[in-house]
C-alpha cells in the first residue's frame, strides 16, 4: 500500500468518524443512578465555579459587565442541567433524588440569575456567595448519599 492510499484511508476514517460522532454524540440515555450522579457532579462544578466567582467579585477584583455575563452563562448551564433532568425518565429507585436535585438546581439558578440582574450590588454578591456555599454543601451531601 502506498503512502497516498494510507493517508486517504485516514482521511476517510476521519470523515466517517465525524458523521458518526455528529449523529450519535448527544443521543439521549435513560436516567440511571450513574448518569444522575454525573449530572450532579456537573451541577456541583457550576456551583463551585459560581461561588469562586462571587468570592473574587466581592473582593472588588472583577468588573460589573464581566460578573453579569459570567453569571448569565452559569445560570444557562444550570438551566441546561435542569431541562435535562426534567425531561429525563429516571428509574424508580432514583425518582426522589431526581426531584430533590431539580429543586436544588432551580433554587441555585434563581440565586445566580438574581446576581446577574444586579451585578453592582456588593451586599447581594456576599449574600449570593453564602447561599452558593450552602448549596454546594447540600449538593455534596446528596452525591455522597446517592
Amino acid at each position: 500500500m502506498n503512502i497516498k492510499k494510507l493517508l486517504f484511508i485516514i482521511f476517510v476514517i476521519g470523515i466517517v468518524g465525524g458523521i458518526i460522532s455528529y449523529l450519535f454524540y448527544q443521543q439521549k440515555q435513560p436516567l440511571t443512578k450513574a448518569t444522575l450522579k454525573k449530572q450532579m457532579l456537573t451541577v456541583e462544578s457550576t456551583l463551585l465555579e459560581a461561588s469562586l466567582l462571587t468570592q473574587v467579585s466581592y473582593d472588588g477584583k472583577t468588573t460589573a459587565p464581566y460578573l453579569k455575563t459570567y453569571t448569565q452563562e452559569l445560570a444557562k448551564q444550570l438551566q441546561q442541567s435542569e431541562n435535562l433532568l426534567r425531561t429525563a425518565h429516571p428509574t424508580p429507585e432514583i425518582q426522589q433524588q431526581t426531584q430533590h436535585e431539580l429543586q436544588l438546581i432551580s433554587q441555585a439558578r434563581q440565586t445566580v440569575q438574581t446576581l446577574s440582574d444586579n451585578p453592582h450590588n456588593s451586599v447581594l454578591i456576599k449574600k449570593t456567595q453564602t447561599k452558593l456555599v450552602r448549596k454546594c454543601k447540600e449538593q455534596q451531601s446528596i452525591i455522597t448519599n446517592l
Partner: protein, 411 residues
C-alpha cells in the same frame, strides 16, 4: 527588513499562537489532570514551530505556498479533498474565534451576545477590507500580547514548582478509573492539535509569498517561527498552570470563556482582568481574520485565481469574495446559536483529518535538495520532521475515536 519589522513579526507569531482553542483545552485539561499534561502543549508547540519554519523556508526558496505543495505532491484528487476539509474547518474555526471575540466584547461592555456577534463581524469585515497583510498581523497580535498576563500570573499564584517541572515529562499519571486514560489521551490529542491547526501554515506560507521572501529572510523566518511560537507556547503553558492552581482538585470543570479569566482577576484584580480580556479579544479576532484569509488563499491557489492582501480587493476579486463569504458563513453558524466553545472543540479535533495531507508535502519538499539546494533540511531537522510527522499521523488516527469515546472529554 529593519529591526522594528523583525521585532513586530516575532511578537506577532507569539500573539498569533494563542487562540480560543487554548481557552477551551488548556483550562479543562488542567482542571482534570493538573500539571501532568504540560508536556503535550510543549510537543504541539515544537511541532508547530518546526513545520512553520519549514514552510516559511520553502516559501522563501522554492516560492511555493503549502497548498501548492499539497497539489503538486498529493495529486489533484487528494488536493481537492484537502481543500474541502480545510475550507470547512476554516469556516468552523472562524465562527468559533469570532464567537469567542463576541463573548469577550460582552464581558468588556455588557451588551447582549447577539448584538456583539453583529458588531464583531462588521469590525472584522472592515479591518480585513481596509488593512494590509502586515497591519492585520501586527494590529491583532501585538495587542493580543496582553495574554502574556497569564505567564506573569504563574509567578504570583505560587504553583508547586516540583509538580510543574514533573509535568514536562511525558509520563501518564496513575488514574483511578480506566476510562480516565481515554480522557487523558483525548486531551493529549487536543492540546497537540490546538497548536498544529493547518490554517496557521497556509496563512504563514502565503504571507511569506505575499511579502516576497527570499533567502535574505531565512533568519527572520527562523527566529519568528521558533522564537515567536515558543513565546506563544509559554503563554499557553501559563494558562494551564494558573488553571491548575485555581481548578484542579476543587471539583471545578470550566466550560466557559470567562472561566479562564478568573485567574488574572484573582491574582491582579480589575485592570489585569480587562487587559487580559482585551488581549484575548484581539487574539481571537486576529485568528478569525487569519482563518478567513487562509480559506481564501487555499481556494485561490487551487483554482489558479489571483490572490493576496497586497492586491486591492478589486485586483483579486475571487480571493476577496471568498474571505467575505467565509466570514458570512461563520456569522450564519453563530446565528444558529452554536456555542463557540463546542465549535472550537469540533474544529480542533476534526482539523486533524487534514493534518497528514498538509504536513507531509511541507516535509518532503523541505527535505528535497533539488528544490531547496543548500537550504534543504539537514539530518537533525529531517529526523525531527519525521518524528513529528509520526506524532501527527497518530493524532490524526486517534482524535475522532477519542472524541466519541470520551464524549468530548466529558467522560
Amino acid at each position: 527588513m529593519n529591526i522594528v519589522d523583525f521585532f513586530l513579526g516575532f511578537l506577532a507569531a507569539a500573539g498569533g499562537l494563542v487562540d480560543i482553542s487554548n481557552i477551551v483545552f488548556n483550562p479543562q485539561a488542567a482542571a482534570l489532570f493538573g500539571y501532568s499534561l504540560l508536556w503535550a502543549t510543549v510537543v504541539g508547540v515544537i511541532g508547530a514551530a518546526l513545520y512553520a519554519e519549514m514552510c516559511g523556508r520553502v516559501a522563501a526558496i522554492a516560492k511555493k505556498s503549502v497548498f501548492d505543495l499539497v497539489k503538486e505532491r498529493m495529486g489533484a484528487n487528494i488536493a481537492f479533498l484537502t481543500l474541502l476539509a480545510s475550507l470547512f474547518l476554516n469556516i468552523l474555526t472562524c465562527a468559533a474565534e469570532a464567537g469567542g471575540a463576541a463573548i469577550l466584547l460582552q464581558l468588556l461592555f455588557g451588551f447582549s451576545y447577539s448584538f456583539m456577534v453583529g458588531a464583531i463581524f462588521i469590525l472584522l469585515l472592515l479591518v480585513t477590507w481596509f488593512m494590509s497583510f502586515k497591519t492585520i498581523e501586527w494590529f491583532f497580535s501585538i495587542v493580543g500580547l496582553f495574554i502574556g498576563i497569564f505567564a506573569l500570573n504563574v509567578y504570583v499564584i505560587h504553583p508547586d514548582w516540583h509538580a510543574v517541572a514533573a509535568g514536562f515529562l511525558p509520563i501518564v499519571p496513575h488514574l483511578p478509573q480506566s476510562s480516565e486514560y481515554f480522557t487523558y489521551s483525548y486531551f493529549v490529542v487536543g492540546l497537540i492539535s490546538a497548536a498544529l491547526m493547518p490554517y496557521e501554515v497556509y496563512f504563514y506560507s502565503s504571507g511569506g509569498l505575499e511579502e516576497k521572501w527570499s533567502e535574505k529572510n531565512l533568519i527572520v523566518n527562523y527566529i519568528t517561527a521558533y522564537g515567536g511560537y515558543i513565546l506563544g507556547g509559554i503563554f499557553a503553558l501559563g494558562i494551564s498552570i494558573v488553571s491548575t492552581v485555581l481548578f484542579f482538585h476543587k471539583g471545578i470543570y470550566p466550560q466557559l470563556v470567562p472561566s479562564a479569566l478568573l485567574a488574572p482577576a484573582f491574582s491582579f484584580g480589575k485592570i489585569a482582568l480587562m487587559l487580559t480580556m482585551l488581549g484575548l479579544l484581539f487574539a481571537f479576532s486576529g485568528t478569525a481574520v487569519q482563518t478567513a484569509l487562509s480559506g481564501a488563499y487555499t481556494l485561490s491557489q487551487f483554482m489558479g485565481w489571483r490572490w493576496g492582501k497586497y492586491q486591492k480587493p478589486h485586483g483579486a476579486p475571487f480571493f476577496s469574495i471568498t474571505w467575505i463569504v467565509i466570514l458570512l458563513l461563520a456569522l450564519v453558524i453563530l446565528s444558529l446559536g452554536l456555542n463557540p466553545m463546542q465549535l472550537t472543540q469540533y474544529a480542533v479535533v476534526f482539523s486533524v483529518v487534514a493534518f497528514p495531507f498538509t504536513y507531509l508535502p511541507i516535509l518532503v519538499v523541505a527535505n528535497d535538495k533539488d528544490y531547496m539546494k543548500k537550504y534543504a533540511n539537514g539530518k537533525i531537522r529531517k529526523t525531527l520532521g519525521w518524528i513529528f510527522y509520526g506524532i501527527i499521523v497518530v493524532v490524526a488516527i486517534t482524535a475522532i475515536p477519542l472524541l466519541i469515546i470520551t464524549n468530548g472529554g466529558n467522560g
